[in-house]
């Protein structure tokens, strides 16, 4: 970057709603798109805080109801109004915890980024419902819950909007303080992980509340399936996450980080013969299941129950993968595919053996 570039003022387009444009409250939610060249409403307060490094060249507004109801037309008009002035960055909000205003800001922020390639920064309360919808599409900067938080919001926003305008992107969420989008990249940071852990603990011990580096995204609770109505009529399949496959691993299943599952015939077999099957799971010592594969695919026991008439019959194939290192997204995908296949094949219940 040359010195001239550095000293250049960042050109900002600012999007606000009818209320902050001074037109009216709830009753004015239907007002059409309007604009004014220069700052308006909260932008006026922001201008001084930009310290000559940035300038709001145009303020665009629209009623919250209108933009959420006539989205395509309104966004097209806003797109045209933004494009006319060729800004470096689009700022929307702060929308605080206002639901429709938050959605409007998200719409504008996403459109600017995707349709115009102009980086955008949207300001709202972290629990505004629009955050989860738009955080992966544009930077969302956290501000307080109510409009009274404007006084704290603007000084925090000013350097970030300037940085975004200058660089076209921001640093990490930890560095620049925006709400995490969900995207994560490996980087070599300044201090080794062990020392960062000591730092984090020392902060906690001195009463601070440091930010975690790996947020818990929360495990989903999977409700158990309904019981089988009539076991005597049921067709049972057996699925294993224990990585038992025909010797030679014909489907080249991976021993960790599964990306598919294998389907293997057990037709006519009373048990899984050790000479023909082998465990390939990379997370437990397979010695004992290699010695007797029925220990992880309990075919011998299931055949006995089948003969006794405990259930109608055993499905003629079993299903296998290695349940290790597979992330939740892939697990869900494989689970859905497997369930679909079982239904298609007339299976009414399945036993999943893990390790």
């Amino acid at each position: 970057m040359t010195d001239t570039d550095k000293s250049r003022e960042v050109k900002i387009v600012h999007y606000i709603n009818q209320f902050f444009a001074g037109i009216g409250g709830e009753e004015a939610g239907g007002v059409p798109v309007g604009f004014e060249d220069g700052p308006k409403g909260p932008g006026t307060g922001l201008t001084g805080l930009l310290k000559g490094e940035g300038r709001i060249v145009r303020t665009i507004w629209c009623g919250d109801n209108r933009i959420n109801q006539e989205t395509d037309e309104v966004l097209e008009e806003i797109r045209r109004l933004i494009e006319e002035v060729k800004p470096d960055v689009v700022l929307a909000g702060p929308a605080f915890n206002a639901g429709r205003y938050g959605l409007a800001c998200g719409l504008v922020g996403r459109m600017a980024k995707e349709k115009l390639g102009i980086p955008s920064l949207v300001a709202m309360y972290p629990e505004n419902p629009a955050v989860d919808i738009y955080k992966q599409y544009c930077y969302i900067y956290p501000v307080g819950e109510k409009a009274a938080a404007m006084r704290q919001a603007l000084p925090a926003l000013a350097p970030v909007v300037v940085k975004l305008g200058k660089n076209g992107s921001l640093g990490s969420a930890l560095e620049d303080g925006y709400i995490q989008s969900g995207y994560r990249w490996n980087e070599f940071v300044e201090r080794p992980a062990a020392l960062r852990a000591v730092d984090m603990l020392m902060k906690r011990l001195s009463g601070e509340d440091p930010m975690t580096e790996a947020p818990l995204r929360g495990f989903e609770q999977v409700p158990p399936a309904a019981p089988v109505d009539d076991l005597k009529q049921a067709v049972i399949a057996v699925i294993t996450g224990g990585g038992m496959v025909p010797r030679g691993n014909p489907d080249k299943l991976k021993q960790a980080f599964a990306d598919r599952y294998g389907v293997y015939s057990i037709q006519g077999l009373e048990e899984l013969p050790a000479a023909e099957f082998k465990g390939i799971h990379g997370g437990y010592d397979s010695t004992w299941v290699d010695e007797d594969p029925d220990r992880v695919v309990p075919l011998d026991a299931l055949r006995k129950l089948e003969q006794k008439g405990v259930f109608a019959h055993l499905h003629q194939e079993y299903f296998a993968l290695c349940g290790i290192g597979t992330n939740v997204a892939m697990s869900k995908k494989l689970g859905a595919e497997l369930a679909e296949e079982l239904k298609r094949k007339g299976v009414s219940a399945a036993i999943y053996t893990s390790t």
């Binding site: 992966q136 994560r184 992980a193 020392l195 960062r196 818990l216 980080f257 397979s286 290699d290 939740v328």
Partner: protein, 436 residues
């Protein structure tokens, strides 16, 4: 306990006809060291042994890497460095120990794949000295002396495992003699005898190793820790090498012996001890306990050790992927329940861009403060290299046949499991998963 560590930093490493450290150069009598190791290999498991030198900055890829050790020797105080190997299991951690700071002795061998267990076999382990994967391993920055071994056929996994470890420890003991009577360039004293200011926060460290069977074991004072319950160790005995690694199953998850006796949390807290904290000790245990019952049992015992030390806070880390995280998270949960603030560090998942699913193998609601050591699900391309050391081919994907492949070519890995220390489980590396 009180330990003085004296350090030597190498400027160069070369072969010579006499082993000595002079003018910053470690000269190694190749012939003598090879003879010593082969003589010790009483049952002839090692068919041939070559020594290779790999230096920082070289365009070189190291393959078939097993354990990595630091050269050290105790010059004062009871016991020997790496106690329990060719020495009594005497309690160490007092007196003086000399160490070479930037020299790694590396055991490299293509151990036979007996094909018995899908977990317990040595997987291909790679260190790139330069290029995009170099940062995954601290050993891209050390002078490396490779013991490149070829093994005779017909022995058991247990015998191979012992043979390569014995070779490494013998090399350390041999090279240690070269620094025994020299005056260290710098020293550090770790004094846990003198009482410290009672107002300093008390901190413990729980380090949970991997011990799942041959090729996935860890040794404490010369014996594997299959049945261990959490045990309190002095930071200084850890520094003197009472923990030795025999874990080769997933190279990214490995904490080699070199790092075990330089665990960065132990070193940092020991340096802070008496100044900004009171480091009350190390709790050493193993993960991958089989059932929930066993995991909670070990977690309770570990947490209670921490509690009985009076700790206000604890750092928790673990070796190994998968369910080892559960043992550690239960330990964390129990500590937090008792009012002990806990901070763990761990690798993460999340798919190639970080958006897929949850980040950790397992967690508990109490894990609100976690340090990331980076994601293991990042595709990594390694470039063609000029030289390959430690072997001359790669063995990957045993479950798909594991045919040998050229080692020097460009290649892309979907995940980083083959990179030695890539998951950064000791926290020694600067790799982190960074949110955007």
């Amino acid at each position: 306990m009180k330990l003085e560590r004296g350090y030597f930093t190498l400027q160069n490493l070369e072969f010579s006809d006499k082993t000595e450290l002079t003018g910053g150069t470690l000269k190694v009598d190749k012939k003598e060291l090879i003879e010593l190791i082969l003589q010790g290999d009483e049952n002839d498991h090692i068919a041939s042994l070559e020594l290779e030198i790999v230096k920082p900055g070289e365009n070189t890829r190291i393959v078939h890497l097993l354990d990595t050790l630091q050269v050290g020797v105790k010059t004062q105080g009871e016991g020997e460095f790496l106690p329990g190997f060719f020495s009594e299991p005497t309690t160490v951690g007092n007196g003086k120990t000399h160490l070479i700071k930037n020299l790694a002795v590396m055991e490299c061998a293509e151990l036979p794949w007996a094909g018995k267990s899908a977990l317990l076999y040595p997987r291909e382990a790679i260190v790139d000295m330069t290029g995009p994967a170099a940062g995954y391993s601290p050993f891209s920055e050390t002078f490396n002396l490779l013991l490149r071994m070829e093994m005779n056929t017909g022995a058991s996994d247990v015998e191979y495992d012992n043979a390569v470890r014995n070779a490494g420890v013998r090399a350390v003991r041999y090279l240690g003699e070269a620094i025994r009577n020299l005056s260290p360039e710098e020293t550090e004293v770790f004094d846990f005898d003198t009482p410290v200011d009672a107002s300093l926060p008390k901190i413990a460290y729980v380090t949970q190793c991997q011990n799942q069977g041959t090729y996935a074991n860890t040794y404490l004072y010369g014996w594997d820790v299959h049945n261990i319950v959490p045990v309190h160790l002095s930071p200084t005995e850890v520094m003197d090498g009472c923990i030795v690694s025999g874990n080769y199953v997933w190279p990214c998850f490995k904490i080699p012996t070199y790092i075990q006796n330089n665990l960065p949390v132990v070193m940092e807290l020991s340096r802070m001890h008496g100044k900004t904290c009171n480091f009350v000790g190390v709790i050493f245990d193993r993960g991958h306990n089989n059932s929930h019952f066993e995991k909670q049992r070990v977690a309770n015992i570990a947490a209670n050790q921490v509690r009985m030390l009076g700790a206000d806070g604890v750092i928790i880390s673990w070796e190994g992927g998968g369910n080892a995280a559960t043992d550690a998270m239960l330990t964390l949960q129990t500590c937090e329940k008792w009012g002990i603030k806990a901070v763990p560090f761990t690798f993460e998942f999340g798919g190639p861009d970080g958006t897929e699913g949850i980040l950790l193998v397992d967690d508990v609601p109490e894990a609100k403060y976690v340090v990331s050591t980076g994601s293991i699900e990042k595709p990594t391309t390694i470039p063609r290299v000029q030289r390959v050391a430690g072997g001359d081919r790669l063995r990957l994907n045993m479950e798909m046949g594991g045919d040998p492949e050229p080692a020097d070519i460009e290649r892309t890995f979907d995940v980083i499991t083959a990179f030695y220390c890539g998951a950064n489980q000791s926290g020694i590396g600067r790799l982190a998963g960074v949110p955007y």
